[in-house]
Amino acid sequence: MNTSTSDPLLSVRDLQIGVPLDHGETMAVRGVSFDLQPGARLGLVGESGSGKSLTALALMRMLPPSVRIRAGEVMLNGRDLMTLTPRQMCEVRGSEIAMIYQNPMAALNPVLTIGDQLVEGLRIHSSMSRSTARKRAVELLGDVGIPDPGNRMESHPYQLSGGMRQRVVIAMALSCEPSVIIADEPTTALDVTTQARILALLRQLVSSHGTAVILISHDLEVAAEFCDEIQVMYAGRIVERSPSADLFANPRHPYTKALLESSCVLTTDLTRPIPVIPGQPPQPGSFPAGCAFQARCTQARETCIDHDPVLEWDHGRAVACYFPHLEPSELAGSVAGGRPLDD
């Protein structure tokens, strides 16, 4: 689907995830497909209920038991993760695909020292001796900027600040040199200055290891600073994918555009109310028919109520909208953009 020629590292096709309702089930992720190139940094941005975290957890096969993957394929290093046995998946987790969570305290075992936790991870995925693994663990703590790493091995998670804990979690994620790291709101629980430091560290480490990252965030600005490309999710679908800079300069999907305008940032116009998107982000079970954004969209026409736009690629960008915003220069040369489907 992408125009890129090199083989993707991770390839997700038509992922569908069902979540339980009081009666029955509803699809919370509705046909998500995307590719991730080796070493790339991809942002997955959306508001609550958009399905971004479910997508991430599905890639790790770590969804809660009540949530089911109903369809889809997730190819990583030539294998479909969805077909692996739980035991095979355990081997893949950590060594090929790892995750950094929003709350580092919940990701760490409170009764074990951070050294023991790092050593455990290293030894599960390799034949390292205990002493080699300890040496490696100290190196890893040093790499993530923890001062006096040798002594910090003996610390328990509660003895570290939030930022230091998240550094430990990053060290764990990197320890077995996975080819992909999924970072789910890794800095949301941290202070602003710590957030900037952690993202800078993560960026530096993944570049030096050539690790690909999927950064899940509700914050377009944070995602744009970290990622090469951004994928915007809405109501369980990807509605736009674009290089970060292009997304900011010229958002194509009306939702992306409205989301950018409604973000309170340091450049927001102070002389008028912030332009808002009316209503609330829809939650699974109440996704509207047709284009899920049509009820809140200023561009919506009849087509948008009756039909559901699919993600279409054009010059390295993709958008799922019948009436995307295009620059005048793009309009001149394009036949695809803005044309409603005939049926």
């Binding site: 001062p147 600040s161 939030g162 202070d191 914050d219 600005e221 808002v276 982000p281």
Partner: protein
Amino acid sequence: MTNAHGSILLEVQGLGLTFGKGDGSVTALDDVSFSVASGETVMLVGESGSGKTTAARVILGLETADLGSVRIGGRETSGLSEREWRQVRRSIQVVLQDPLSQLNRRHTVEKIVSSPLRAYRIGDKESQRLRVIELLEAVGLEERYLTRKPHEMSGGQCQRVAIARALAVEPKLVVLDESVSALDVSVRAQVLNLLKSLQSSLNLSFLLITHDLAVARYMGHRTYVMFNGRIVESGVTETLLANPQHPYTVSLLESTPLGNLRIDRRHPADAPVLTVPEPGAG
């Protein structure tokens, strides 16, 4: 006393508060002074542990400072009897960060929003109900929400309910502690706009606590930056952000997305050197 906005509503002078004793003690507030005038929005900006929430707790009478004074409407609050405090508290209400946990989840919206009216015995049941409908309308919620319970609403709707409750007894000052940081981006904008319009229609004052300089810039007439229990910089928000003086303010601004764009780079030689340690680094 007045400033550009109006008479001084809240005046905090030289607050000091230390938790614990000896080696393990933590100085939460160190000589903290600020004021809020009527119709004004004042920002307390800082990160976790900077003392901003503790300062708010002292103002609300939930914590007693070791040193300093708090005057609300010209009245010194230390030494007030419980009965006198009840009257002072009518003029100063609070909205917290977590939309859900600040609301009693077993109560309906009507009961939640009318609770201050009942506590202060304002009106009978029927007039309270009408007042709740009026308050809900002011925060952009329709009458049908009266019978909803918190878990049946979104975060943004819960936060509107909390704002409606805070406004029920017609306070002069509302303290908002990170009240928009847990909301979705598009919903946060709705609530920020709502606060601004309520301010102009009701001549409210806000003390807004946040770690987000973009929110401070949009909302705050004046801003106080807190670090390690001290106010390290203060001023008119626009001026402060255009030309931050304290290294901590600079690092906060640089850490805010798009923040690098705002810092004046014309005199790089004069730029303050960053020496702010990450908390817990040692």
